[in-house]
Symmetry: C2
Subunit: 223 residues, 2 copies
Amino acid sequence: MTTKTITVVRDLLATNKQAAAAIRAELRSRGILGVNLLSSPGSGKTTLLEALADRFRGRYRLAVIEGDIETERDAERIRAKGVAAWQITTGGACHLEARMIGKVLGDVPAEIDFLFIENVGNLVCPASYDLGEDVRLVLLSGPEGDDKPAKYPQAFLSADALVLTKSDLLPYLPFDPRKAAAEAQAIKGTLKVFKISALCGDGMDELAAYLVDALERLRSGRA
Amino acid sequence: MTTKTITVVRDLLATNKQAAAAIRAELRSRGILGVNLLSSPGSGKTTLLEALADRFRGRYRLAVIEGDIETERDAERIRAKGVAAWQITTGGACHLEARMIGKVLGDVPAEIDFLFIENVGNLVCPASYDLGEDVRLVLLSGPEGDDKPAKYPQAFLSADALVLTKSDLLPYLPFDPRKAAAEAQAIKGTLKVFKISALCGDGMDELAAYLVDALERLRSGRA
């Protein structure tokens, strides 16, 4: 990169960090847990949110901000579950930025418990952008291969928890979830790991409990 | 994006285009077909190259440039097939650029037929960077979902052919290859489509024939 490019990127990230800090302060003051979901395209982010919508219905209130380069599809899937959703289409940009979240935040109802943000499907660029969330989940599906954490380290380093998705496909794949988990935890020792199938329900109790615990800690000021 | 950011990005792309044109001219003068492979992480780019190495052995000579953010893993897999491979680790950058290829090009043997370039696993950013290739393949695996072309249009618009991978997993997936192909061809009508399993061999004859035909057209000046 040229010096000029490096300066512009550094300025962008500094501006983003300020916007993210303001969002985090606002969400905490409202008692809302912000959760940012990162992964490659097709790792199961939207399907996980659909499953959480079903699981939390009547107990916790959620809202979802969807990030995609094009189409309103993911927001439509979430709305079909009776959950409020906003679609941000980046029109080419490879990640969400905090200012994009800031523009939507005023419309998000005050009485929700969880604000999920589904990032653009990309295991690289979104890792560098804080969106003001309190929990960052990185998803890795079995079909992607257990060699991915070391190849895309920043996403795993920046996350609080790794969610290994599509466990129902494991019988048909050369994927070792223990290897994937060990490789990710070699990058970040404190990373929590969950193995789930959003379609079959496997592991969803543990993941939901983790999110509820994080919400309770935020509200009791232990975040 | 700020005006400053837009200017820097435009300058980067213009510089890249010049470098790519020089690479394309050199590859054509040597009679080598450059092939750039784009996809999400884990769509099967390296596995496809391993299968092509086996299939072309003794008939066509190949070399591979591997792009990854970190690790030498993919180049090691290719070398294990007896094929010359160079690993470019971008150290964080989300795509390969032509100047990175240019640095390696002097080391690539003159007598090869195909130079495959495996881009960083990312369905977004690599689409904007011409690497001097004559054929661009975009891979989409069944587990990623048949709704991806419209969500990541640039990758499909910029490609010459769509390779639907991991067809051996189709019995276990809610994936309709015809839907994926139709959606991609709605973005680019001239896009060729291949459905393959690099592991089982399904569709590999057709894809190999397409590549050999492109090589022959390049050498006869019909590229």
